[in-house]
Subunit: 210 residues, 2 copies
């Protein structure tokens, strides 16, 4: 059976996975790009970047992944559903290179992008969405791409095997929380932490054997 | 000028400093003692315990401290104000050994305990409470002892010099949050993290020079 991963989803020290006030220009609202500064310093992001622990985690993004599931908020700003020409916030050649299933109540025909990414639109609960993604992944693993609500829903439904969360030492104060409603998650997942010299803490959740 | 410290205040990964449903027997509500397991394994707690990083942080508790300020919820369960004989949740010889200022709207005469602890009861805002504690501390430093609301209020008021928060890898799901209302705290404090082999992450906030 293929596995289900979350790769380097960043939250603030106070647990917000995105800020308040998301717009077309501010994909993460008032958080701006502050949750992702650590990524921009890695070799995975730019030539000459660090090859340390942040990079090692970054390099996991594509390994063995056959499909991604993302929320409507990762695909676009609030209101994209009303724009028939909207093709996502990820440019003409999105960094996914697989089928991507966008969870939305406003479905539309699939959009084929450059580089192997095809966006499919799905109005489905987590378990059903995962079944659909698995069928498209050719036996490979599935990435749950975020945002915070989607990751929380998949964790709550017990559908994730390995989650990698990056705690960034800033306090956003407002936005969408990742951890809400997940009381006792440590009973189902072994939780490990490691601090990077960049200042972020990599937290990995590994599903305990049944 | 004496400094103001928070020493090893523990929160869950989802940011709760105490659980829900505090009673006389459950000082931390449904959290029980799960936020403090890491402490019980140190040499500071018991002979033969670990002398590693958790212990080093534990040993900071008393060094140079001349007074503590704590909230009503650290002094006792909800309703202690109605019990004229209540002398705190800390036994006959409390682990403070200095004057302790309990913030409460229900003041009463001071209570002298064994071992140097005297509880004083104060209905005051953070800045005024700090002034009172400083006057009693004989030039030594002040510890802000918690709970989460008190630490948050003192952080928000800019009154803390060094805060040490311990993030425990459990999800409480409910209770009282530490980090609420502290947006942008990283602009005023340098934040460092280090993971202990015990699994907890020690987060230190050091006030930036003006």
């Amino acid at each position: 059976m293929s596995l289900v991963y979350v790769h380097f989803f960043s939250v603030s020290l106070d647990g917000f996975g995105t800020g308040e006030g998301q717009t077309k220009d501010l994909h993460f609202g008032h958080a701006g790009e502050r949750l992702h500064q650590w990524m921009f310093k890695t070799r995975a992001w730019k030539a000459g970047g660090s090859a340390g622990i942040d990079d090692v985690f970054m390099q996991r993004h594509d390994q063995g992944i056959g499909a991604e599931i993302m929320g409507a908020g990762k695909f676009g700003h609030p209101g994209w559903e009303d724009d028939p020409d909207w093709k996502g916030a990820w440019g003409p050649n999105p960094p996914f290179h697989t089928p991507v299933f966008v969870l939305t109540h406003h479905t539309r025909p699939a959009i084929e992008m450059e580089g192997g990414t095809t966006f499919h639109f799905l109005d489905a609960a987590p378990a059903e969405a995962l079944e659909t993604a698995r069928a498209a992944a050719g036996g490979q693993d599935i990435r749950i791409g975020g945002g915070p609500t989607v990751i929380r829903d998949f964790l709550a439904a017990g559908l994730i095997d390995h989650a990698h969360i990056v705690v960034v030492p800033i306090l956003l104060g407002r936005g969408v929380r990742l951890w809400d409603g997940l009381e006792g998650l440590e009973e189902r997942y072994a939780i490990e932490s490691v601090v990077s010299p960049s200042g972020v803490t990599h937290v990995t959740l590994s599903r305990r054997s049944q």
